[in-house]
Subunit: 346 residues, 2 copies
């Protein structure tokens, strides 16, 4: 049986801020059966994760490319690959059979043709919504958990600053920090997000960075005694201001630098005198290096979800057609929480 498959490609490499016109919706015929003798697996995509780091894969060159299997360059004209959850439609691989729910690296498409290596895990029947395996119980969650606990090595009572605090990772970092007894302030890009961070997520405080004219003073106001831990999702001038306001032996975990992804001119110039004299550590990390804590992360986070201690914010758009605007929106701060595309019901 053949169907029409819609998928999204980049028309060309994207060197700065992405625009919807950089993307193209394509359609092709797609066989829903596996060729005899092939070990292909055909997946119907249900939920697709939309992540800002993908922009670095869309550039003609970035030093970020090829750092891991997740960061290989994206080829113009070919369906963009991304973390997704799908249902197996047909399988030539003995490990998978029809109707299996799987999480893996599939494509910005209705259907994906994949090999066993693209499937990260099979999902058994779950007490949680399936989309959680892309966010709070997936790589966003692992990024927050490993970045905060393993990279920042927090102590109870420490002062924590989180940028992009309403985002997929920041929203979880702040909650993990509160759960272990830290004081947490977040920043976000509008009033609605700030309210959410304070009211729903339980941060001690939050501010709208777009309303601030001098970030150094802003952070001084929220952290009169200084910052112990800065969980950085944005880079640029916020990183500079955080370094100025760090305490001695402060730690900066650099998770992402979205301000710098699309404009190298916004690159941070942290004050290295501060770094030396305050013995600050600035460390980049990738969640994929922390698979050793995945089980811990998954068990604790599941438990927090069951007991209502952790709140999940998802921002869902519908259908393959919505992918370009959803992706572009990440760079305009349109999303609140984990951005997900829903394609079909389970």
């Amino acid at each position: 049986m053949e169907v029409t498959n819609k998928y999204i490609v980049i028309k060309h490499h994207i060197e700065d801020a992405p625009k919807e016109s950089h993307f193209e919706l394509k359609t092709g015929t797609f066989a829903l059966s596996v060729r005899p003798g092939s070990d292909d697996i055909i997946v119907k995509n249900l939920h697709i994760s939309i992540d800002p780091y993908q922009i670095n894969r869309m550039k003609s060159y970035s030093s970020s490319q090829n750092a891991t299997n997740f960061t290989v360059p994206i080829t113009p004209g070919e369906a963009v690959d991304a973390l997704a959850i799908g249902k197996v439609v047909a399988s030539g691989n003995a490990m998978f059979e029809k109707d299996d729910l799987v999480m893996g690296v599939f494509t910005w498409a209705e259907y994906s043709l994949v090999k066993e290596g693209s499937i990260i895990k099979k999902l058994e029947s779950s007490e949680f919504p399936l989309s959680y395996y892309l966010g709070v119980l997936g790589f966003s969650g692992l990024t927050a958990y490993a970045g905060f606990f393993e990279v920042c090595k927090p102590q109870k009572g420490e002062k924590v600053f989180v940028s992009a605090a309403s985002g997929s990772v920041g929203s979880l970092v702040g909650q993990y920090a509160k759960l272990m007894g830290c004081y947490v302030v977040g920043c976000a890009g509008n009033k609605k997000k700030v309210e959410l961070v304070k009211e729903k997520l339980g941060f001690d405080d939050a501010f709208d960075y777009k309303e601030e004219t001098d970030l150094n003073s802003t952070l001084k106001r929220y952290f009169p005694d200084g910052i112990d831990i800065y969980f950085d999702n944005v880079g640029g001038e916020m990183l500079e201001a955080a370094v100025v306001n760090m305490k001695a032996f402060g730690r900066v975990a650099v998770c992402g630098v979205i301000a710098e992804y699309t404009d190298a001119g916004k690159r941070a110039s942290p004050n290295m005198l501060d770094v030396v004299y305050k013995r600050i550590t600035i460390g980049g990390f990738l969640a994929t290096d922390f698979m050793n804590v995945f089980e811990d992360f998954f068990a604790k986070t599941s438990d927090y979800l069951r007991t209502g201690k952790l709140k999940v914010i998802e921002d869902v758009s519908l259908g393959v057609e919505s992918i370009p605007s959803a992706f572009v929106g990440l760079f305009n701060g349109d999303n609140i929480g984990k951005k997900i595309i829903k394609l079909a019901e389970e």
Copy 2:
């Protein structure tokens, strides 16, 4: 008994590159006996350590000031305090007596009047030249040792890059790295220094950064497979180029950023995409935080000196009058090795 005491002050705060005209040689009468009932100690200075970080204490404001007891601001018109070795001339303190050799925080002066708290240690008769206790066996040595072994956590065979490689700290870092089996390349500011680093200190290679037009390419040439450890003494564009050339999981120990001390416009803007995707750690440190390894450092380093495995480079000027030009010279790359002022024979 009274003598004339010569000492050096700053005339005013110094905001950028220091000039000899910023300093003044003063003379005053100085009693060589202790007032009855006082616990003062009078020290005749023999060797004074000249260190670039002092410039940060001379500014009207720097975030570096007051980070530790060593970084309190220097007051214009008052004798500059500095690490030195001296001989006790008179003492009202029972812990010290005439002719004791002491190392501590004294002044840019022939004689210093100090309290017990300013004396870091009493030096017993030594197999090594006294000046070594300011350099290789003092804080320069501890900085190199702790910065390399404790902060960088090197592995045998790793590729190490050291800036200011002929300087007091860099010259030792490179030698420690060689002694543990690393591959070491240094950079310095002229041919003579480069020769010294390669021939006398035994670095695997070295280059004159002033002869290079594109530091990214230069480092790529010396480290075709990338840098594991960068021991940074300079900051600025060398730090940027090193980050570009780091391997995955590379470590940068920021010991000093002399390029940025006198010109904030030279502040480094390291590529944070590299920091994230290559999981680079950039960490500032101060030797004073590593007193816990002092004994190890001292024992191992003494042994390396005895067996001739570690070479010491000192750059000595004579007399209090030479201090301003010696200090200013640090920022022009005039010194080779540890800069010391010799005031008197033991």
